[in-house]
Symmetry: D2
């Protein structure tokens, strides 16, 4: 029976993306995303609570992430929960949960813009390094291999 497994996150990267280029043109990027909520406890003190999420992106999206995201980037993410289960050396059942990203959008925050835009002209500073450069890397449709959103880059 069909179900729903949907995750929506908005937060900041705790580190630069870790990107691996695999055989057969496959690319995978792993991101660490922090979502912080803030509330008042019973004593009226403001408390911050940060949850860290392991994101996994494939192929076109991984390339976009590699080129545009870095530590501190603020992004909006849609994806689904996906767990790996295995047995460790002691024979214990282990489980690791990550978010398989289906789409993401860059928001403003620190460090928007490509790390090294068109590979040159570093003497001329980017016109608006702090502007709200959003960019959408849309749905990956991983199963059927029609993963062509690399053609969807906004330039």
């Amino acid at each position: 029976m069909a179900g729903v497994n949907k995750v929506i996150l908005l937060g900041n990267l705790g580190a630069d993306p870790e990107v691996k280029h695999l055989e057969g043109d496959k690319v995978v990027a792993n991101l660490r995303l922090a979502t912080t909520e803030s509330y008042k406890d019973r004593s009226g003190n403001r408390v911050e609570n940060t949850e860290w999420h392991d994101l996994e992106l494939w192929d076109g999206q991984a390339k976009v992430a590699e080129q545009y995201l870095k530590k501190g980037s603020q992004i909006y993410v849609e994806g689904k929960i996906k767990s790996d289960t295995w047995q460790d050396d002691q024979g214990n059942n282990r489980k690791r949960t990550k978010i398989r990203v289906q789409s993401f959008t860059m928001l403003g925050g620190k460090s928007s813009g490509p790390e090294n835009p068109q590979g040159g002209n570093q003497g001329q500073p980017a016109q608006n390094p702090n502007s709200n450069t959003n960019m959408n890397a849309s749905s990956a449709k991983a199963y059927d291999g029609d993963d062509n959103e690399a053609d969807d880059l906004p330039f």
Copy 2:
């Protein structure tokens, strides 16, 4: 900085709720929820893929779950991802991820209706055991202690 950490699930329970009544009137329920997606692989064969989620509900919601949900129940859930981290006996960093439920709605499927409705009249079968009895246990707002959704029960 405020962020967003939102999970939306729709699936079936793999087991009856596990409910613990703690000191001070606190109640916690743990549910195992399966979300199944179905797709065709490259060869055109239909494949089913099930993800299992650990849900945690507190207080008013836990009581509603205890009374109305059981193995097989189909529910719609909103919540957030919440991880526990600790060190195991070998000093390894461990992490366990669960879904802290903020609201849920009972859908049809098997086993709607209370397990043992007001404790009596078992000779008379429930009129419509397979009907689409939905019920909403709304948001828990745990942090500020205004956790009064027990008053929101639909009866």
Copy 3:
């Protein structure tokens, strides 16, 4: 700048789908979906409040809707808000809002199962007319013309 425009609905159809087959193999289906919320007013009386949504589905999804949905069907929907604006006869600006469906999933409820399954054998009643027949008609990606979810039908 990229934004997010996402709608999630779970409710029941108020009428059978209205389907139009257009030139060039295009198909559009219009659905009326009711989402009902129930709450207690200040006096403690339970109140029901129903919102009606106009859904629009295209092509592969429209065909699935035509074949499987009818009045009373319970569905889960993801889509986006889309408005038409025009001037009426009096020169007033008018606006009509609908939900462009990106994916939907059939839940149980009334009237699951095809209206007329494989066109025959009506003497033999469907084995489980009230069973929880879910079915997923996945995302339509209308803009790029790669609208091939008709190939994704679960049979």
Copy 4:
């Protein structure tokens, strides 16, 4: 039967909030929010498509909006679709759809920070007018009158 009616938006305000202070301490704010999507048409040209949403906020949230949001502000919104229906002068049935906001979060973008922070010191420019000042105005719980999120302001 309980249903789901959920809207998630991320975009920018097209104008300053319109706030009305009603009798009995009630406050309502109306916002115009633009969500823009960007895609390539068949010819490979990038196309932008903007949808305008009418948002309605009440009480504590309305006050937060009044103080912190203005034209250009980028926000993340959760809410639900809510329609008004009436008959116009010609006796035609009319319908107007708006988004009843349940929570919102300020993101960076233009014009974060209060319009007039604690009412003074205008000679000293705000230190970081373009910084990523996020702020969460949480769920409004309108029906039951326990609308105390004014106490939840982050200061």
